[in-house]
Assembly symmetry: C2
Homo-oligomer: 201 residues x 2
C-alpha cells in the first residue's frame, strides 16, 4: 500500500506473512485479512500456537529434528530400530517419510545440503554429529535419504566418504519410475536409472 | 502425521496455518518449518505482529475498514473527497482500490455480498449504516464498486433500491474489456458488456 491507508501494524503483518514459503504478496494480504476477520477461530488460536512455538520448540541435540521435548519424540521412542539411521536434508523430509510410514528407525537431519557457491560447506551441516552416531556399536546401517538432486547426491557422496571408517553399511534410496509415473513424462535421468536398476520379475 | 512423531504443539501450528487462504496442508507444513527454522527473523517478529493485531486492530465503526485507530485512517483523512462513498464487499477490495490510487474518497465495507442460500441477508451486511451515511448532506454520490459476479451485482441492485430515497447519485464501475485483455480469451458476458457500452473514439 503506497498511500497511508492504515496503521503500520497491518502492513507489518502482511509483510511478515509474505515471507512464509508459498505466500506471495497477494496471498499474504488475503491471509492477513482472514486473520483479522476471523479473530476467534483463527487469529487468537494462531497467536497462541506461535507463542507456544516460541517458548517450547527446540532442535533435538541428537538428530536435529524439531520438537517440544529434548531429545525429540522419535529419539526417545524405544520401539524404533536402533541399528538404522535415516539421514535427511530437512525436517520436512523426515515428516514426509513418517507420513509414508515406511521406516521405523531414527533420523539425522543435516539441515540442508552442501552448496559451495552459497558458502555451505560440511561445517555448516550436522555431519560431524552423524559420524559420531555412526561409530556407536548399536548402529549397523546409515541410509542416505537425500534429495535426488545434484546437491543432494554430492552431499551423499561426501558423507559416504566421511563414514568410510565407521563400521556401518551406507545405503541410499532406490531411483526409478515413481509409482503412477508415465514414461512419456519422465526425464532421461530417471529413465536411465530405471533401466540400469531393472529387476527380474 | 498419523504416527506420533512430535509434540502436539507443532501439529497444531500446522493445522492453524492450513486454515489461512492460499495455504494447503503441504504449504502449511513448509510454512511451519520455515517459522521454526527462522526463529529470529520470522517466528519472533510474526509472534509480535500477531500479538499487536490481537490487541490493536479494530473495525472502523463508520465504514467497516480495519485499522489500529478508530475511526480508521481513511475516515480521518481530511484531504479525501467527502462527497463520494465507494462501496466495496471486503476490506481486500478497499486495499486493491487504494493500491491502484484511482480514487480519493472514503469507503464503505459491506462485509460480503447477499447470498440467500448461505443465509446472508441484508441484515448481515453493513447496509443500514450505508443508507444512514448516504443521507448526510455532504454525500453526493455512492459508487457501488462490487464484484462483477452474480452475487455482487444482485447486492448492488438491492442497495440501489435502499438508496432510492437518499439524495445521492448511485453509480457502478464500468464493465468491458480489461486492460491487456485478449478478446479470444474473454467470456461472452464481458464481450457483450464491452459492445453495449462502446464509446466513440
Amino acid at each position: 500500500m503506497s498511500k497511508k491507508i492504515a496503521g503500520p501494524e497491518i502492513e507489518r503483518l502482511v509483510q511478515l506473512l509474505a515471507r512464509l514459503p508459498g505466500l506471495g504478496p497477494r496471498s499474504a494480504r488475503k491471509a492477513a485479512l482472514a486473520l483479522i476477520k476471523r479473530r476467534q477461530d483463527l487469529l487468537l488460536p494462531l497467536a497462541d500456537a506461535i507463542k507456544t512455538a516460541v517458548e517450547k520448540i527446540v532442535e533435538c541435540p541428537q538428530c536435529g529434528n524439531v520438537d517440544t521435548v529434548s531429545p525429540c519424540t522419535i529419539c526417545r521412542d524405544e520401539r524404533r530400530d536402533p541399528s538404522l539411521i535415516v539421514v535427511v536434508e530437512e525436517v520436512g523430509d523426515l515428516w514426509a517419510l513418517e507420513r509414508a510410514q515406511v521406516v521405523n528407525a531414527r533420523y539425522h537431519v543435516l539441515g540442508g545440503h552442501l552448496s559451495p557457491l552459497d558458502g555451505i560447506g560440511p561445517d555448516k551441516l550436522n555431519i560431524g554429529s552423524l559420524v559420531g552416531r555412526a561409530h556407536s556399536d548399536d548402529v549397523k546401517e546409515v541410509l542416505l535419504a537425500l534429495n535426488a538432486t545434484v546437491e543432494g547426491q554430492s552431499t551423499a557422496h561426501y558423507i559416504t566418504g566421511e563414514l568410510a571408517r565407521a563400521n556401518v553399511i551406507v545405503s541410499r534410496l532406490a531411483q526409478g519410475v515413481p509409482i503412477g509415473g508415465e514414461l512419456d513424462y519422465l526425464d532421461e535421468g530417471t529413465l536411465a536409472a530405471a533401466i540400469k536398476s531393472r529387476r527380474q520379475v
